[in-house]
């Protein structure tokens, strides 16, 4: 077995940003709030930060252990195993959902007649190959694609400004119908997706090279991506108008498609699709890697690479099976998954085991100390 790779702080930062933007920038985030969607995103960010603080708190208690290793310590071996398997399935389900998002995007934008499984299998095979080269490679590739994404993102922003297609009157009045509708639209969708999905990083915190910075850099990356998301949503609405923006599947694409500079630079949506692909790539890859890591602990598998293919294939078929059509998929994603899947896994279970930990703190620390002494 190879030595566990340590993630550098730069890689941690770029991975979080790519992960957070991954699929969230694609679908209309918080569009239930109408023209105040960008506010809903910011509210989601604030709430998401609290979830992140909870995850970081638990990491500080077990700086050497990932989620899958400290869960059994807290809730007991067998129940811990059950929870671990649930988390594994949760992350795989999330990966499948993101994969479906991107598959559908490609089908609607480019490959009208291609079966979704073909498009998705190309993506999952690429991810398996890159993870096969090691998480190190994924992290370093992330650095390069982060730079590329920033470059393309900025140039599109400049083009949007240059094309003069934004009408900021569309987002006014801010919270015109009072704050309640905005808050109602925000909870629980925006805090859980994408900010609460940071729970996946509880599996990666122990592998940071500089653990002290897990909180500060993580928060910076989260806030940066939250602001980008909010700005994007606001720009979508300013370009398309509140009504259209809330009713198209991919508001960002429709907005970018409006760019037309001198009859030469036009239809940039096709180009944007492929920048988005890289974001989705990293999000799915992180979910796959995290579920592989949990599976490695649950089934005590020595070589993590041997798990990539089976789990990848399950995710591939899962991505096709999660919904029978795209409308159903999006509907599930906005109305069912946040309430019944995100909230339990991101809030209820973490709060539950944190409380148990606080109660049994002394005996757990003792167990940890004896366990580590027998290990060494």
């Amino acid at each position: 077995m190879r030595e566990q790779y340590k993630i550098s702080i730069k890689q941690y930062f770029t991975l979080i940003v790519l992960f957070e933007l991954g699929s969230a920038i694609l679908v209309g985030l918080g569009m239930n709030a109408g023209r105040d969607a960008w506010l809903a995103v910011l509210i989601g960010l604030v709430a998401g930060v609290f979830l992140f603080l909870l995850y970081i708190y638990m990491f500080k208690q077990f700086p050497e252990l990932p989620l899958s290793k400290y869960l059994p310590l807290i809730v007991g071996k067998h129940f811990g195993k059950v929870l671990n398997m649930l988390y594994m399935l949760y992350f795989m389900y999330l990966a499948a959902r993101v994969l479906r998002d991107f598959g559908s995007l490609l089908l609607s934008a480019v490959f009208v007649q291609t079966p979704i499984i073909v498009v998705n299998s190309l993506m999952i095979l690429t991810i398996i190959y890159v993870l096969h080269l090691g998480f190190e490679v994924l992290a370093r590739t992330g650095e390069i694609f982060f730079a590329l994404t920033v470059l393309i993102g900025l140039s599109i922003f400049v083009l949007v400004l240059g094309a003069d297609i934004m009408n900021w009157n569309y987002i006014k009045p801010i919270a015109g119908e009072g704050w309640m509708p905005v808050l109602k639209a925000s909870f629980p969708v925006t805090p859980t997706f994408p900010f609460g999905e940071m729970i996946a990083f509880t599996m990666l915190f122990p592998y940071l090279r500089t653990k002290k910075k897990a909180l500060s850099i993580g928060l910076t990356a989260m806030i940066l991506s939250g602001l980008i998301l909010s700005l994007t949503v606001a720009a979508d609405i300013a370009i398309l108008g509140g009504h259209v923006a809330t009713h198209v599947f991919f508001p960002l694409l429709s907005a970018v498609a409006k760019i037309n500079l001198g009859e030469f630079i036009q239809r940039l949506d096709a180009l944007v699709v492929f920048t988005l692909i890289t974001g989705g790539f990293f999000k799915i890859a992180v979910f796959l890697y995290v579920s592989v890591k949990i599976a490695q602990d649950v089934f005590s598998v020595k070589e993590e690479r041997s798990l990539l293919m089976p789990l990848g294939i399950v995710i591939l078929f899962g991505s096709v099976a999660v919904a029978s059509n795209f409308v159903e998929h999006i509907n599930e994603g906005l109305n069912i998954v946040p309430h019944f899947i995100h909230v339990p896994f991101q809030l209820i279970i973490p709060v539950f085991f944190t409380v148990i930990y606080l109660i049994r703190k002394k005996s757990i620390k003792k167990k940890l100390a004896s366990g580590s002494s027998t290990l060494t």
């Binding site: 550098s8 480019v110 699709v273």
Partner: protein, 541 residues
């Protein structure tokens, strides 16, 4: 008196440690040792035995020269000068060996009385060549002869003098052919290892420049030199390079390309993992950054390790020109590499899947041109690319006069006629033309070939999946690049893992005054390259 002399001899033996001679054997062999059986046995003290032995071992070749001499050095002795013609400088031998041997130095009063004494007498007084070693077994004798040394044998003493008068014809130092610059030194390495080491030594006149020589190849016994600068190169790197070189057990090393395959980290990749150059200034520059160079006798191409991907886009000229134009040219080269890699794929993807992205008027033009073409864009592109590859290969291998004919056939018949015949569209010819020119503009031939190979799978995938396939394929290529390592140094550094300091010399070439440190991953301890007194002063004030 005799004791004194013997002491002197042993001293002189110790001084000559850099000779290619095994000095481990003791001089305990008796004078009447006539054992000439095993090859590593001690040289016989009879002239007939020695000459017969050499002739049988070498198969009595026609180019072996044995010159018998009758000398009078105190006492009358028989001697022989043995060498292989064409490996030696025969003028030197005539002038500094044979003539000197035949002229007895009369002014010396203390003439030798035994064969042994006359052997040392000759070594010290009668040979006016720089390098003379004494050897005592047959193995070294044969190796020395085959390496181009001249053996001087004195009858009656079981040792042989090996004088170095290596000659024979070799190429003169000429301008580099594969790395041409407008400004900068115009000399390139040659096939002779000695010359090449000298060219580097002339650039770095430091006692810290170390040259370690070894021989590789069981049959070819190719001399190899490992060059590094003592205080700058990482000792671990030098150790690693030595172990990798020593691990090689092959018949032959004829070119540094063969050596490269033995010592590279990863076999299954299209990317070159060791940088090779024929320019002494490039080697000197890389040594000063803390890298090591491996030279192989018989080729002008020197290997440099560890190698980073960005090195292939750096031309020595970047550092000789102003930094602004240097930076511009460097960015241009990266762009050109990307063009040569994906230009046909982008054309295929655009025309097959993403017509909407083409401006409308241009789209009409393209559609009109493609109207008569019966093939899909991929087949069209593949045909043209393969045609181009054939032309290129033919152009390189053909004799010069025929090469002109090839280019006429290529340009006129295959370019224009193919368009007129409706086989390919004119735009396709432009795309292939741009790709071809771009691939010639990449400064390193080695990395241009990897783009050449990767072009075809990229074309295929973008004909099936458009930009989506192309994006994923590029992710795979970049991930593969980040997974590569050259002697422990990440191939894609300083881009990933990112390093701000080293970025000054990656995509851009910052002003030399601002590059105060050596690349961080390569020279780990001794990193300060220069002190910028100007900035220090301004800070101090």
């Amino acid at each position: 008196m005799k004791k004194n002399r013997n002491n002197r001899h042993s001293n002189s033996m110790n001084e000559e440690q850099d000779m290619p001679v095994n000095l481990e054997g003791t001089s305990s062999a008796s004078e009447n040792n006539t054992d000439d059986g095993a090859s590593n046995s001690v040289v016989s003290s009879s002239i007939e035995h020695v000459i017969t032995y050499i002739k049988t071992e070498l198969g009595n070749p026609g180019d072996l020269v044995v010159r018998h001499l009758n000398l009078e050095v105190g006492l009358k002795i028989k001697a022989a000068v043995i060498f292989i013609d064409e490996l030696v400088d025969s003028q030197k031998i005539a002038e500094f060996v044979i003539e000197r041997l035949q002229t007895v130095p009369v002014h010396i009063k203390d003439m030798p009385a035994t064969f042994g004494e006359s052997f040392y007498f000759i070594k010290e007084n009668s040979l006016s060549l720089g390098t003379v070693a004494e050897i005592e077994n047959y193995n070294d004798l044969l190796d020395g002869l085959l390496a181009g040394n001249t053996a001087i044998y004195i009858n009656g003493f079981p040792k042989v003098l090996m004088a170095e008068a290596i000659g024979g014809s070799s190429r003169a130092i000429q301008e580099p052919t594969s790395e041409v610059v407008i400004r900068g030194p115009k000399e390139a390495f040659t096939e002779l290892l000695k010359t090449n080491i000298g060219l580097v030594r002339r650039k770095i006149r430091s006692s810290d420049l170390r040259v370690e020589q070894m021989k590789l190849g069981r049959v070819t016994k190719t001399p190899i030199a490992l060059l590094y600068i003592n205080n700058i190169a990482d000792p671990k790197l030098i150790e690693e390079m030595k172990t990798r070189l020593e691990r090689i057990d092959a018949d032959s090393i004829l070119e540094s390309g063969q050596l490269e395959e033995f010592i590279q980290d990863e076999t299954f990749t299209v990317f070159p993992q060791l940088f090779s150059t024929e320019r002494p200034d490039v080697v000197a520059g890389d040594l000063l950054e803390g890298r090591v160079a491996v030279m192989v006798n018989g080729t002008p191409f020197t290997l440099i390790a560890p190698t980073q991907f960005v090195q292939f886009f750096q031309s020595p000229e970047d550092y000789y020109m102003r930094y602004d134009i240097g930076s511009f040219l460097r960015m241009l080269r990266f762009f050109v590499f990307i063009v040569s890699l994906i230009a046909p794929s982008i054309y295929i993807a655009l025309t097959t899947f993403h017509q909407a992205m083409i401006p409308t008027t241009l789209l009409f033009g393209l559609a009109a041109q493609r109207e008569g073409v019966p093939f899909p864009a991929f087949v069209e592109a593949l045909m043209m690319e393969i045609t181009f590859e054939i032309l290129r290969e033919a152009g390189i291998r053909m004799p010069r006069p025929v090469g002109v004919a090839v280019s006429i056939v290529g340009a006129l018949v295959l370019g224009q006629a193919a368009v007129q015949a409706g086989l390919v569209s004119p735009v396709m010819v432009i795309v292939v033309g741009i790709t071809a020119v771009a691939s010639f503009a990449v400064p390193s031939f080695a990395v241009a070939t990897s783009a050449r190979l990767l072009r075809f799978p990229l074309m295929l995938i973008s004909s099936i999946f458009g930009f989506y396939g192309l994006t994923l394929a590029l992710i795979v290529i970049i991930a593969h690049l980040t997974s590569l390592r050259s002697f422990g140094v990440p191939y894609l550094s300083p881009i990933a893992p990112f390093n701000m300091d080293d970025m000054k010399d990656a995509f851009f070439r910052f002003p030399i005054k601002s590059m105060l440190k050596r690349p961080s991953l390569i020279s780990q301890k001794n990193r300060v390259r220069m002190t910028n007194h100007e900035t220090q002063k301004s800070r101090g004030e």
